[in-house]
Amino acid sequence: MWQCDPVRLTQAKLILVPLLVVAALMVPVLGLPLMALLLVGLVLKCPGGARQLRRVVLFMSVNWALIIGVYLLKFGVDGVLPAMEVASRVLLAILPGLWFYLSTQSHHVVLALDPWMSVRNAAVLSAALSLLPHLVNETRVLYQLARLRGARIAPKDFTRLHGYRELSETVLLPLIVQLMRYSQQQEIALRCRGYQEQQPVTRFPYKDLL
């Protein structure tokens, strides 16, 4: 079966999603059912799409109540139809993003963004991404150490304000210090490996990854 290059597809999606959102917001009323059919179909086709769609609809119900309430107050019963139109447009505007999220893998997004980014931004982004496991580890260690020292940051303490205050002093502050150190070390490591802004040495090997 013919398969599209996933990176090119992701690039197309990156451009298509904002266009679809603007279309959902501005397309004439007659085009709305077509948009709805297209977007709901796209979302439902993705794995887990139905569940996510249900969640979004549930999450948006408060918003809908607000929209319909304001229109009822302003226009009375005549306001119900325009309110429904506004509400459905707002919902449809969320779906392209949801489709992107459900149908795109992270490493494809990185590869798709690559040609549009400067060397430095690509380096900073990949450095930040590679920091993630260290960050998680560091946070866990700092949290456990703070707990052992008697900080009141057990899960039950987060129902009150003091839990958050102690968390910021005992975990967040050392974590920021650690991050500052890591970023300095990363800079040294990059420079030691001959990183130059003019030469793209930090890019991912495009074809090998796929």
Binding site: F59, V70, R120, L132, L135, L179, S183, E187, E197
Partner: protein, 187 residues
């Protein structure tokens, strides 16, 4: 000519990562409007405090947006970028007038308020494109601004304290700390 050094750019990237990681741990689905502004403003004000160079907040916003998009946060695809860039640009604009804002609660809150306005503006533009009644736009914008300002206020309670701690332990370069903070005692 780059505005800031590679180390600064890496630090801003690391802060962006911290935001995305924290935000994905604290996923409150309480429907509390504007609670994300607490995390956003903490990150942006810290970014400006640690790297007091024009453009640092926008750069941090860009990195947050890109990381969020890659890690699938917010389920918004490329539009997540806009969600973080709007408050970042607004905050950067306010910082033109109050360059040392993150070091004091009141000034931090003032610039954070402008940032929140930028964030609420995104929703307002969306509703305006839909052609919604202006009352609806106003109600939603006011609701968002109110909630956002409240949570940004909590962030502003925390950030100056954190920055002063860091400055006290000489972890921020001396030329980057305002002179009145250097002279003052640890708060």
């Amino acid at each position: 000519m780059k505005r800031f050094s590679l180390a600064d750019a890496l630090l801003l990237g690391a802060l962006a990562l911290l935001f995305v990681a924290v935000k994905s741990v604290f996923r409150f689905k309480l429907g509390l409007t504007g609670h994300s502004m607490f995390f956003v403003m903490t990150t942006f004000l810290l970014a400006r405090g640690l790297v007091p160079v024009r453009g640092s907040v926008i750069y941090c916003g860009l990195m947050v947006g890109l990381l969020a998009m890659i890690m699938g946060m917010g389920k918004g695809g490329p539009l997540v970028l806009l969600k973080f860039m709007m408050p970042a640009v607004a905050l950067e604009f306010a910082l033109l007038f109050l360059p040392n804002a993150p070091w004091r609660f009141i000034t931090a809150w003032a610039v954070a308020f402008v940032g929140v306005l930028g964030w609420a503006l995104k929703g307002a533009i969306e509703m305006w494109l839909v052609g919604a009644a202006w009352e609806l736009i106003a109600v939603k914008a006011l609701w968002k601004t109110g909630g956002g300002t409240l949570f940004a206020g909590l962030a502003c309670l925390m950030v100056p304290k954190l920055l002063r701690h860091l400055a006290h332990h000489q972890l921020i370069g001396e030329h980057r700390v305002p002179s009145w903070v250097r002279k003052g005692a640890l708060v």
